[in-house]
């Protein structure tokens, strides 16, 4: 027979799935804006390893010459991104969910063990509560990154009226680089996140949709449990 194991609270599922299209729009509109001054690349000396972004990428996504459109979407959906994020943080604080999410001093060592395990390098799997240490670090970092996007974004958006934020983020050019790097971070997070979700399987995925996982337990186990219950 089947047993229901509660996973994600309703509020967290809503915040999670609302964030998905909102963040997608923020990244897309951000690319439209970035295109107008696309100066970043990775490399050394005269060697470019990676250009942000190749023309083929722009063409495929119909990016060129949509700066004003990008700005319009970006400065409308920024509100939804911020509000959804703040509500999520508020919810985790009030509900106590943060306790499962915030890493502690053991988390970094354990996260490394999780990584080695997931990459099939080591067989040892550290104990976990709702989330393993690597998840705790990832899910807390992504919130800090969101916060960073708001701060650096506001610094670029109103560099004179929020001059103190501009100072805090290292000036206009640094704020723009940080804002861009955080976005690349989201994309990398997304790729790993999807890979992990696929690896974890359907049951885990539906935990984020219906809020619970289903565990199959053998009939005999149920009987034994029932017996145990009547005994106590």
């Amino acid at each position: 027979m089947k047993r229901i194991i509660k996973k994600q609270p309703l509020a967290i599922r809503w915040f999670h799935w609302l964030n998905f299209p909102i963040l997608a729009i923020m990244i897309w509109s951000g690319i439209l804006i970035y295109w107008a001054n696309d100066v970043y690349w990775i490399g050394f000396g005269d060697t470019t390893l990676l250009k942000f972004f190749p023309d083929s990428f722009y063409k495929a996504l119909n990016v060129p010459f949509h700066l004003s459109n990008g700005m319009a979407f970006h400065f409308v959906f920024m509100w939804l991104f911020a509000i959804n994020g703040l509500l999520y943080v508020g919810y985790t604080l009030i509900s106590g969910e943060w306790k499962y999410l915030v890493p502690n001093r053991h988390s970094f060592k354990e996260a490394w063990q999780v990584v080695l395990h997931d990459l099939h390098i080591s067989k040892y799997k550290p104990m976990q509560t709702k989330y393993n240490a690597a998840q705790k670090i990832a899910y807390t970092s992504i919130i800090l990154m969101g916060f960073g996007s708001l701060i650096t974004g506001l610094a670029i958006y109103k560099p004179v009226q929020f001059g103190w934020l501009l100072q805090l983020t290292g000036g206009y050019e640094w704020a723009r680089i940080e804002h861009f790097a955080l976005t690349i971070g989201y994309v990398l997070f997304f790729i790993i996140h999807i890979a992990q979700v696929i690896k974890a399987g359907w049951n885990n995925f539906s935990g984020m949709v219906r809020g619970f996982e289903v565990e199959n337990i053998k009939k005999t186990e149920v009987d034994q449990e029932a017996v145990r219950e009547t005994e106590t």
């Binding site: 027979m1 229901i4 109103k158 004179v160 206009y172």
Partner: protein, 269 residues
């Protein structure tokens, strides 16, 4: 007998699982469909200055929110002379047509709105240079995303308003204590009227807003708007109109070249 309640329990659990799975996945897919529909709806919406109406109305709200944080005391950071670039980037040439003789140039100012007659007068470069000279070395920011530390010289727009008693309904010199007498906007146009900006009065009266005639302590190069351009540090470069031909004042937002093409009206930093 012993197994019966467990079976019922099993059935109940199965039903709960089925029901919750169907409901939650339906809500998820309906949500995605709704989001996609909303996306399409926004895209197909009637446009106001090149942006879907919904986006435009939020952008207008953003401007109001920005105004809450605006202060005349918030200055763009200034830099030492040594950090200014030697050659300032030239980015646009709208309104900079070749049929222009700087020797014949005069600035036409209308105390009131564009079509008011008998209130226009003309000034020369000499008149502007007679006003106290100010310099500003700041990080010029283009709406495209680039920025450059540049060094400009000219007269404060507020000094210009003071001297020629401009920007007020009454025709008196502007008085901070009588804000209701101030026009809400100033409009600046190139001599051929091909490029034009509208700027709120608070920003025009900002101490770093200059009627500018020098770059790097030299007369403005032709492509930087010789003989006179605007430098407004608290707006994107699209508002720093080059080669000013006309100035007038208005209570309604004057037409703005880039606003019509889909950008924010205020373009405020």
């Amino acid at each position: 007998m012993k197994n019966k309640p467990i079976l019922n329990e099993e059935e109940k659990t199965n039903r709960t699982i089925r029901r919750k799975t169907i409901v939650s996945f339906t809500v998820l897919f309906a949500g995605f469909a709704l989001a996609f529909g909303a996306w399409r709806w926004i895209g197909n919406q009637e446009k106001e200055n090149e942006q879907p109406k919904l986006l435009r109305s939020v952008l207008n709200i953003n401007e109001k929110v920005n105004n809450l944080f605006f202060s005349e005391n918030h200055l763009a950071k200034e830099y030492p002379k040594s950090e200014a670039v030697k050659v300032a980037r030239v980015n646009g040439d709208v309104g900079m047509g070749e049929e222009f003789n700087p020797l014949l140039w005069k600035l036409t100012v209308n105390r009131h709105h564009e079509n008011a007659s008998d209130t226009a007068f003309q000034l020369t470069a000499k008149d502007i240079k007679a006003l106290p000279k100010r310099e500003v070395i700041f990080n010029f920011k283009c709406i495209e995303g680039w920025n450059q530390i540049t060094h400009w010289g000219g007269a404060r727009f507020s000094d210009f308003m003071e001297k020629y008693k401009l920007g007020t309904h009454s025709g008196k010199a502007p008085d901070i204590n009588h804000r209701e007498d101030l026009y809400k906007y100033a409009a600046l146009l190139t001599p051929d009227s091909a490029y034009y900006v509208g700027i709120d009065m608070k920003s025009m009266m900002h101490p770093q807003t200059l009627l500018c005639y020098e770059l790097n302590e030299q007369p403005l190069p032709a492509d930087q708007g010789y003989p006179l351009r605007l430098i407004i540090t608290i707006k994107y470069g699209i508002k720093s109109l080059k080669r000013i031909g006309y100035i007038y004042f208005s209570d309604t937002p004057p037409p703005d070249y880039w606003h019509k093409q889909g950008y924010d009206y205020d373009a405020a930093l």
